[in-house]
Symmetry: C2
Subunit: 435 residues, 2 copies
């Protein structure tokens, strides 16, 4: 059968990896797909840059040239961002070309419009590589778990954050030291904000939640919190209490609506997610028929991401002969049948909490605090006082609460902060028992 | 669009679960599939048995009646075994009906012939539920990892064995006690041989290996060993040395050929697989582009298995409009392009070992043993002598070796067993470092 001709937009880390994998495993891939998948052209930023892997490949500096090339069957967008990438993807769809992309920002922010256009034009937009690198989590949720009502997703979906928190855990060092190490190893960008502030994880969570629950992509409704405020002492106290601190993306179906949130959380050490270290990613899914299941693997890197890009290529190659209405829908559910489930504000979510505060060592201090919790209906699980402290000197108190609504916890911490025996800020991290 | 009509062969645990999931999640499933999936008829063993979930369902005691019914689009075979089940599946294919099955024995033993016939007739045979219950591992290997050369699979793929070993680990009890507990909880059959002797795991490994490596199904070439000889003291010694004992299915690509083996193995405690407890299943895949990835979930039970059956139904419903040659191939690779890779005999495999032996406490005993290892090129990692022992009294010695070929270890243990200072049998368990 005729080879499928692919145009690559971008020959950076992932583009180079994709080319390498397609060439190295050409035999296995065409034994699987039933057709050869050939990269015919690539768009690069700098044509003058010397490259060693591009023999036989048509190079251009103009992505639109590939997008408009009638000889190209599938466009692979690996430029990133939502500038040229967005333009190129929309024009490729207009030209009735299938698209494979690794661009999570593009899908999270503009996916609804992109998929609508793709539906009209009868083409596929595949984006497995946009979430959790090479872990086939989109396929799993969309196809593997198709029998289920999915109740919850909890994921370690940003390798940079997970590396930093793992390193803080192992070395006892602080955030700055761990970030510097991550940058030195190439696990964090020179400007790391996108990762450590949680935006990248929120893009991925947006996509996962949409596919799990059959709702439109709604990035702007995700509560986003990064890891910059996680202190070394919180990691140590959590450890002492039997927990690890992980940066989680959480999507949960509740009776009141959908919770979508990205933030650090304590999770019990014995849970598999707590044992996912370094730059690895993992997603725990809870579904009504299957129960809990977990998917673990490399969330970034040239070849792990290429693994997902090429799997999408194989899928597209296979599906080209399918009636468009019988293809796997972009967001798992048929277009037109997405649900308008309410998304909850962060104040409405329910979770347990870890609190760290400094108090003056005086009689009645803990009684005043626990009364505030009691009045708001918040139960306390554990209280830990660190250091003995002379009378009237500062001591650190750690508390673990039971599950409550976040607005009650907001009221409680506001009231506690006003006590004149409480000095300094109150550190607060959500605590999730997942299994 | 017209509803797809399904005929269920078998309304036992999995059949009942499939019916329950299809009904409970009918709305979500048809929002995904784009069509209603309706169970129109079911074959049961005993028509007289009272049932509460079968309103509106045509029941028959004759599976062939469903297989021959022109109103049925897809036959779901949940009878098990390779008697009636095999007959019914082959006849359904002859009648150009698609088939979904959870029958691992049928696929492992007769899959090559079944898929050949399905290919000729242009129908699909889907069998996600045959391996690891609801974990979508077939889809993952076949589609999600399609870019990769898969190097290794290591799986906990029998929940009964994993429950028994987990219980022995936690309670310190012996095999018999743990088996009795598993039987009481319904995790082991009254006749547990199929599970505890490793045959069930070998069926599943046969299927996984074929899909991973693109080789024909070759059940008869799997080295199969169960867990009946794992002693409580081995679990305790392994724990002391930093390992857990798990029952593994292992498929490994080596320069010499493919290793296919099912047996108990020590694995380091910090590995995720070591932390998969109870009846849960997990499969670790190592692939050249993606690296290691792991898939965890329920490996059995009514609804977890139904989750896989129904996912297959959705896949088949979607793929009916696809050109047969563009569908996902049954064994991942296109028919006619399976590879004739050599499968290694168990003597040729390479692994490390845990050994437990009883020796008389005399000078030179260990020297004699280590000389035997040295002569065969086997390096020893750890030696642990349990109990002090009076001169000439029995003491237990535990040894961990480095990786060697099994035939060398066979020669070594044969020679050691002949030493007159070695009393009783030598317990030997393979040791696998997977990550």
């Amino acid at each position: 059968m005729k080879a499928v001709k692919v145009g690559l937009l971008g020959l950076g880390t992932v583009g180079g990896g994709t080319l390498a994998v397609l060439r190295r495993n050409a035999d296995e891939i065409s034994r699987r797909a039933g057709r050869e998948i050939r990269v015919a052209a690539a768009a690069v930023r700098d044509l003058a840059k010397p490259r060693d892997t591009v023999d036989g490949l048509k190079l251009t500096a103009d992505a639109m040239q590939i997008v408009d090339d009638p000889g190209i069957d599938i466009v692979v967008e690996l430029i990133g961002g939502d500038g040229v990438a967005k333009q190129a993807v929309l024009r490729a769809i207009d030209n009735r070309k299938h698209v494979v992309t690794a661009n999570k920002a593009l899908i999270a922010l503009h996916g609804n419009a992109i998929f609508e256009k793709a539906q009209q034009r009868g083409v596929m937009v595949a984006f497995e590589a946009a979430v959790a690198g090479g872990i086939p989590i989109i396929k799993t949720l969309r196809e593997g778990l198709a029998a289920n009502r999915i109740e919850e997703l909890a994921g370690i979906i940003n390798g940079t954050c997970n590396y930093i928190l793992t390193r803080m855990q192992e070395s006892g060092g602080d955030f700055g030291e761990a970030l510097a190490a991550a940058q030195q190893l190439g696990y964090a960008e020179a400007d790391p904000a996108f990762d450590i502030d949680g935006v990248d994880a929120a893009h991925k969570l947006t996509i996962l939640a949409s596919i799990a629950f059959g709702i439109p992509l709604q990035f702007e409704r995700v509560h986003v919190q990064g890891i910059t405020e996680v202190a070394a002492e919180d990691i140590a106290f959590a450890d002492e209490l039997g927990y690890r601190i992980k940066h989680l993306g959480l999507a949960r179906r509740t009776a009141a609506g959908i919770e979508l949130r990205v933030h650090p959380a304590l999770i019990p050490k014995r849970e598999l997610l707590a044992n996912v270290g370094g730059v690895m990613n993992a997603i725990l899914a809870r579904a009504d028929a299957l129960g809990p299941s977990l998917y673990y693997g490399a969330g970034a890197g040239a070849e792990p991401t290429a693994s997902a890009v090429v799997a999408d290529l194989v899928d597209v190659v296979r599906a080209v002969t399918t009636d468009p209405e019988n293809r796997v829908p972009h967001l798992a559910f048929q277009p037109g049948s997405l649900a308008a489930l309410p998304l909850l504000a962060i104040e409405q979510i329910e979770t347990a909490y870890y609190l760290r505060l400094k108090v003056l060592n005086r009689p009645g201090v803990l009684a005043a605090i626990t009364r505030i919790f009691g009045d708001l209906g918040i139960s306390i699980d554990t209280v830990l006082q660190k250091g003995r402290g002379q009378p009237n000197q500062e001591v650190t108190v750690i508390m673990l609460t039971q599950v409550t609504q976040e607005r009650h916890m907001n009221a409680a911490t506001a009231a506690i902060a006003k006590l004149d025996t409480v000095t300094g800020d109150i550190a607060r991290i959500r605590l999730e028992k997942l299994s």
